[in-house]
């Protein structure tokens, strides 16, 4: 039997707060990331994604429960855990912004106890791979968001980790940068690394993951295939239209699979559906009625969760 990259059982983390009720950031979470797998942790803001990543990377202690990374306990075997992981916390922070990309990586490499000669080669290789070689000797503060994030990933890879923890790595990136980033993730998977990637973006979860766990309110609601997530995105799609006459609105309401037809203040009509193929029926009805100002948009994660959790009869929080 191979050891799972991540094995979490009954993991709970409570934050005590001044003059406030303690907050349960993680509530008895069970999660397994198999070796070589890209596992998505999909959840809205405040779901507990970062808290879980911090615990797995040994920088935060759990209140109770256990977590093993590469078979090592994150509380007791920190040294072994740290040797086997790379972490990428999303966002702007976490780099020495006045220093150059190369200087940053050389320091992190020292913190992974690599001899200078090895470090130099490894840093050059990573800079090249992340497409940062040309800007390697520029201060990080002059970098774009996407470049900073690639530098973060290079930093995460400095110790040649078996397991990568990526916490919302594409947050704030432009779409092109995010797409490039995802192909990098696919490459890393090809090298046999195990990856836990958190996101609140369903499309991202669908496109890069082998499995996706849904987290909300500190609880893991379930684990799904990316295809299922993709299905939800079309199943719960939303259609917006302008200049929709009242009789057409009534027609829309009567269509099977239409859950709501809401008229917003600017006379825009927002149609929500909750069945496969319903969005197409809505579009056809609108076009047939001569309505041309029509657009579709993805449902928000919160909406999908409401549907999914509702369908399964689970209570939120």
């Amino acid at each position: 039997m191979t050891t799972a990259a991540v094995r979490v059982r009954g993991l709970t983390r409570e934050f005590t707060r001044r003059r406030a009720q303690p907050r349960l950031a993680l509530d008895a979470v069970d999660l397994t990331v198999e070796e070589g797998e890209v596992h998505g942790l999909l959840g809205p803001n405040g779901a507990g994604k970062t808290t879980l990543c911090k615990i797995l990377s040994t920088v935060l202690l759990p209140t109770s429960g256990t977590a093993l990374v590469n078979g090592f306990d994150v509380v007791r075997e920190t040294k072994q855990v740290r040797q086997g992981i790379g972490i990428v916390f999303g966002g702007e922070r976490g780099l020495y912004t006045r220093l150059t990309a190369r200087q940053n990586l050389m320091y992190w490499s020292a913190l992974y106890q690599q001899p200078t000669r090895v470090a130099k080669a490894r840093v050059a290789e990573l800079l090249e791979r992340m497409g940062l070689l040309e800007r390697a000797d520029d201060a990080v503060e002059t970098f774009s968001r996407g470049m900073k994030q690639r530098l973060h990933l290079a930093r995460g890879l400095i110790g040649d980790p078996r397991t990568l923890l990526l916490d919302e790595p594409t947050v704030g990136m432009d779409p092109v940068a995010a797409r490039d980033f995802r192909s990098l993730v696919a490459e890393l998977r090809g090298e046999g690394r195990s990856i836990l990637i958190t996101t609140h973006d369903m499309a991202e979860a669908e496109s890069v993951c082998d499995k996706v766990s849904l987290i909300d309110g500190g609880k893991v609601i379930g684990t799904e295939s990316p295809r299922t997530i993709g299905g939800w995105m079309s199943k719960y799609e939303r259609v917006r239209a302008q200049g929709v006459p009242e009789e057409v609105r009534a027609k829309l309401r009567a269509l099977p699979g239409v859950s709501e037809v809401r008229v917003e203040d600017d006379e825009e009509v927002l149609v929500s559906v909750d069945a496969e193929g319903a969005a197409a029926r809505v579009l056809r009805t609108l076009v047939d009625a001569g309505v041309s100002a029509v657009s579709t948009s993805r449902p928000s994660l919160e909406e999908v969760y409401l549907h999914v959790i509702g369908d399964r009869g689970l209570a939120v929080r």
Binding site: K54, V59, I87, F89, M106, S109, A110, L111, P115, T116
Partner: protein
Amino acid sequence: MIGLFLAAMRFQAQVVRREPDYLMSLVTIPLLTVAFLAIMGNAGRADLAPYAVVGAALMTIWATALFVSGELIDADRWEGTLEGVLAAPAPYQVAYLGRIATVTVISFLGLVESALIAWLVFGVTFPVPHAGLLVLTLACTAFSMVGTASIMAPLFVLARSARIFQNSLSYPFYLLGGTVVPVVLLPEWLRPVSKAIFLSWASDLLRDCLRAEEPVAAPARLGVIVGLGVLGFGIGHLLTRAVFKRVRENGSVGFA
């Protein structure tokens, strides 16, 4: 371990080069050399010139430890790099010691600077009758300064109002450390306090190295300087561990 220490030293040198405002005390405090020398000259005590030079230099060294080394962990906290440091397998204590060592070495330029100013502005030169001992004393002083600064860096993170604390460790310590005014000239009740501070031993011995007569009990005094430095490393080690323990318990923000 040595590799990490050296890499951290190099890293800090790069930080200082990129952020020269770290060296403010090297710019401001030597002005004190001028002030001290002017006063002493006016009072007809040109013989006290070495006191002025040593005093201004030690103030620079102490201030740099306080305001640069003392900030290192806190700065990592604000940059968001602290968690990365904690999540790396290397002993973070060694990394911070390396960084502090660079800051300390640079701060010793204050001594060269003071001596140069004394010479350029006032034409003051002075012989160094005990050059070997002076070099040894400087090395021991640097060692203990690193040890003492390793207390400051975690202390300012752990202490509630770090700023107030920091400022209150500057002027009182210039005094208790006998940087300018030798400790023997302090009120009697202050002297025992001052004996617990390595700086007071260092400044006394440095001044003695510049006097003609043979410094008394030099090896023992060097031993005290080093011993207090070692004590500093020990306390610094424990406090740094306490900082990181707290980070792990509370999450990195929302403490102090």
